[in-house]
């Protein structure tokens, strides 16, 4: 019988949900993840561009589950599906990463250490919202994601129940039930590139948010509006000491 926790030879499967990621950060992210993950499982939310082809061009992509109908307004279903599809391969650890997120390089050197232990079952990281480029991240009243930790890396515990809040948007990326287990708050940082594109791209994202959540039920209206701030407070990103 497979033990619940192993202290060696742990395998890592990255899971990712994607939609119309062509000409964004997908290739860069998959290239990066391929350097440290053993395999990658992807759920494609009915992309209409070359996203699936790009995914399949990476040898470590084990499977791309293609949805024919868009699930963007049923995010908890999408997250649950992604979790189930990933766990069916029996990974030891799962990394929940989005198509616009890149770990700083220290992660590659330490990820095996983070997994090959039996003290904690998840690891959380600080995520920084890069803004209008890759030199600065945003930090103000509405943009403080980096001030708390986000669980991204977790041990797969077969049989352990997984729950997602049945929210349409902004659903936790990992099952809530893992909060019952011991975890580690890491000082390793994650670059979130979703806002690093042009002003035009940010405006399109703003319009998409306003369209999907006009009443601000799933997120903060004020934060949505702040996307268009002409002069946001930006902080220079300093790369880690090598």
């Amino acid at each position: 019988m497979r033990p619940v926790r192993k202290t060696e030879n742990n395998r890592l499967t990255a899971m990712m949900q994607v939609r119309n990621e062509e000409n964004r950060f997908l290739e860069e992210v998959l290239q990066d993840v391929s350097e440290y993950a053993d395999e990658i499982v992807i759920v494609d939310d009915a992309s209409t561009d070359r996203t699936v082809d790009i995914c399949l061009s990476f040898p470590k992509v084990k499977e791309v589950v293609r949805l024919t109908e868009r699930h963007f307004s049923r995010e908890w279903e999408l997250r649950s599906l992604l979790w189930r599809e990933t766990c069916k391969y029996g990974p030891d650890w799962v990394l929940a990463i989005d198509a616009d997120e890149v770990f700083e390089s220290k992660f590659k050197r330490t990820v095996r250490q983070l997994m090959n232990q039996d003290t904690y079952d998840w690891v959380a990281f600080r995520m920084y919202d890069f803004w209008g480029g890759r030199t600065h991240y945003r930090e103000d009243e509405y943009w403080q994601l980096h001030k708390r930790h986000t669980i991204m890396l977790l041990r797969n515990l077969p049989g352990f129940p997984y729950y997602y809040l049945q929210h349409d948007h902004h659903v936790h990326r990992v099952p809530l039930s893992y909060g019952a287990l011991p975890g580690l708050l890491s000082d390793i940082r994650v670059k979130h590139l979703g806002w690093a594109g042009s002003e035009e791209e940010r405006r399109r994202k703003y319009e998409r948010y306003k369209q999907m959540d006009p009443e601000g039920i799933w997120g903060s209206q004020a934060q949505y509006e702040s996307i268009l701030d002409a002069d946001p407070h930006l902080v220079e990103w300093k790369e880690e000491d090598s």
């Binding site: 019988m1 039996d118 049989g159 129940p161 809530l176 039930s177 909060g179």
Partner: protein
Amino acid sequence: MNVVFFGEPGGEEEAGFPLLPDWQVLVVSAGKKSGKKNGISYVPLSAVRELEPSHGVAVVSHPYWMPFLRQWKPYAVIGLAYGADASSDASFHYYRKALNRFCDAVLTDSEEAMLDLSLRGIPAFHSPGPLGLSEGTAIAERCAELVGLCKANADVYDLRRSIQELAAHKRTERTEGLLEAIECEPHNEALITLAARYLYAEGRHSEAEYYGFQAFGRCVVASGSRCLSLYRWIAMVQARQGKTEDALNSFGVTAIQAEDKARYQRLLAAYDQQLHALVCADICRENGDMAYALELLERHPTPFDRSIRYQLYKETDQYSKALDLLAQDRPKELAVERERWLLLGEQEEQEGCVPQAVSFYLKAACIDQEVISNILRLEMVERFLAAYS
């Protein structure tokens, strides 16, 4: 017949036990005081010794009465386990557990405690409210009901079975009530957890597992790590249904402390050797289902189950079986020798045979001086009883 109330120091005045037709009600009082008030006789312990034990029902609120009761041997013993967890005294808890096992019925203010006792095969009843036998209180009414049952069964061989049936009936009523309440409050975690525990006690194990998971789902949203103890309880429910792999897996998830990790590794090794009964028994034992754990081990004995069986025999007062197991160990080893003297001492202590108990404890203390604390415990109980003599 006589109902004799064995209270605690300073608590005699609160014992306004409801008067029952054809029953004499007595309260043991400290300092050789005697008298009669409101139809209740207050008597010293020496007067109780004069009573015919086969006509006596003892109602006991303090565990240090146990040695006396062992020797007096009344027809029935009803224990009152109220606020038992409030005391941090190890001796008190040792005697409380021993008294519970000795009782024909236990009344308690905690539903959790009641369910735990039920799993140990002790007929237990939940009766909320502060300890006090004043007429009209829930505890007095339940107590009177049990005394009535004792009277009705006076000529029946198996009183304990009648009390077990009454306890089972009360549990069934409560279980149905809880399941109805959940329909109105489907997200009430405390209610669902309690229903799961009742269902387990009822033997409805698959339903208990379903509600256990339902409770866990609500618990993790609200209170995070606190709910791992609930998850370990689910492991027992799975073990009880023979789902060994699931049970071991669930236990493994909760094995976070070093001691639990080591135990998990041992159970994994047992599982790999196909010793499934041993795995399930250990998980059930830890969660309090002693009866099932023992049943499993006696049905599927293995050479590797000795330490678990030994624990179970000790916890269920089966001293001769525990001693037999010890005899199979290496008797010349000091640790085994110490354990044997300790066990013999405990056996005598439980029977109320103080000189013999002290003698055995002294022999154990020659190997391990920590055992002296058991002799101090005996002295404390003797001082307690002396105050009433």
